[in-house]
């Protein structure tokens, strides 16, 4: 019994120490000129949908949930965000070549269509990020229009 107590004590200390190692917050606090909104003409409802469903992992401004303050949850989330931004960053879309912008938009459309994004776990924790059929069609329609307009300007 004494041994069990000691082990629990050690784990508790470890857990407490972990709390002092907070990962950097993904919050630049500013909207860049390369963000999706000054880059393309985008209606407010479309922009809001992207913000609510994608920006936490795919932009420079995450709306960090309270549990991200608890380690190691925060570390796991920080790594997910890093991965997400490497693949697609809404804050920097405008800095890509038009060819790459078209590719990114195509991939966003594909992920919405095959329901792999937002991630199921994310949807579970963020009920507002569950896209309805109409919302999906709204996003896909905007994406296709925007892609065509980039292609015609090239």
């Amino acid at each position: 019994m004494k041994r069990v107590k000691q082990i629990l004590f050690v784990l508790l200390i470890g857990f407490i120490v972990m709390q002092f190692m907070q990962p950097a917050r993904n919050q630049s606090g500013q909207v860049l000129q390369t963000d999706i909104s000054p880059t393309y003409a985008i209606p407010e409802n479309v922009q809001t949908l992207f913000k609510n469903t994608c920006y936490d992992c795919h932009s420079n401004n995450t709306n960090h949930p309270w549990y991200s303050m608890i380690q190691p949850i925060g570390w796991i989330l920080a790594r997910d965000i890093e991965d997400g931004k490497a693949k697609l960053n809404f804050s920097e879309l405008g800095s890509l070549s038009s060819r790459k912008q078209i590719s990114r938009l195509q991939q966003i459309e594909n992920r919405i269509k095959d329901d792999t994004m937002p991630l199921p776990a994310y949807q579970l924790l963020h009920p507002s990020a569950r896209l309805t059929e109409e919302e999906k069609q709204l996003l896909i329609g905007w994406i296709q229009k925007t892609r065509d307009s980039i292609a015609s300007k090239r």
């Binding site: 004494k2 041994r3 000691q6 004590f9 050690v10 784990l11 200390i13 470890g14 120490v17 972990m18 190692m21 190691p72 570390w75 790594r79 890093e82 490497a86 070549s97 060819r99 790459k100 078209i102 590719s103 195509q106 991939q107 594909n110 269509k113 095959d114």
Partner: protein, 213 residues
């Protein structure tokens, strides 16, 4: 017994921290290695230039392309065709391997043989195409995802062939069903349709849109 408590706690913490740092490091290395390419290719080819002409092309002035560039293009196209055939045969592993070959072949292009204007175009296409080829390489087992990137890659390779030639006669084929019936193109070495987007399911579905010489 209490003497062990602190060292043990430190060990636990160190292990946790090092695993996180280690993962980050690993990823960094991975990204670095993606940018690494073999640049030995292209030197052996003869100097000189070839004139590329495309049939059914609206641009009437034929482009002049250095022989070294033409040789690299031939290589890129050959690996692209490997990929196309792997997808038409539903072979996801072969497709992944071809993806890597395309990345290498694109990196092997000696850009010093390109004019400033050609270089701009090549780099623009390469930047995008490389990503698709890498994704195809990383997604063995997920042929649906490989085909998505093949769709985008095909447009890139088509633009390259239009600009620099493909080293052989190619056909631009069209699959009307892919992308929710919006359609998708691919390049082939034969007129016979072997659809890389659906494989066995719809192997002969599609049409020839353009002949590229």
């Amino acid at each position: 017994m209490k003497r062990f408590a602190i060292p043990l706690a430190l060990t636990v913490i160190t292990l946790l921290v090092s695993s996180v740092v280690g993962l980050a490091q690993h990823k960094h290395d991975e990204m670095k290695s993606m940018g690494k390419v073999d640049s030995s290719h292209g030197q052996s080819a003869k100097k000189g230039s070839v004139v590329v002409q495309t049939k059914a092309d609206t641009i009437s002035t034929p482009r002049v392309v250095d022989a070294n560039v033409a040789a690299s293009m031939k290589e890129i196209v050959e690996h692209y065709l490997h990929l196309k055939n792997a997808l038409a045969n539903d072979k996801t592993k072969d497709a992944a391997a071809a993806g890597k070959e395309i990345v290498d072949a694109m990196g092997a292009m000696d850009k010093s043989f390109l004019t400033a204007e050609q270089k701009k175009l090549y780099e623009d296409v390469e930047d995008d195409a490389r990503e698709h080829a890498e994704h195809i390489n990383e997604n063995a087992g997920n042929i649906g995802h490989q085909r998505e990137h093949f769709d985008m890659l095909s447009k890139d390779v088509y633009d390259l062939v239009k600009a620099f030639g493909g080293g052989q006669v190619l056909y631009k084929n069209f699959c009307p069903m892919y992308n929710d019936k919006k359609g998708a193109i691919w390049l082939s070495e034969t007129k016979t349709i072997k659809n890389p987007y659906y494989g066995k399911k719809m192997l002969t579905c599609g049409s020839v849109q353009e002949e590229l010489k």
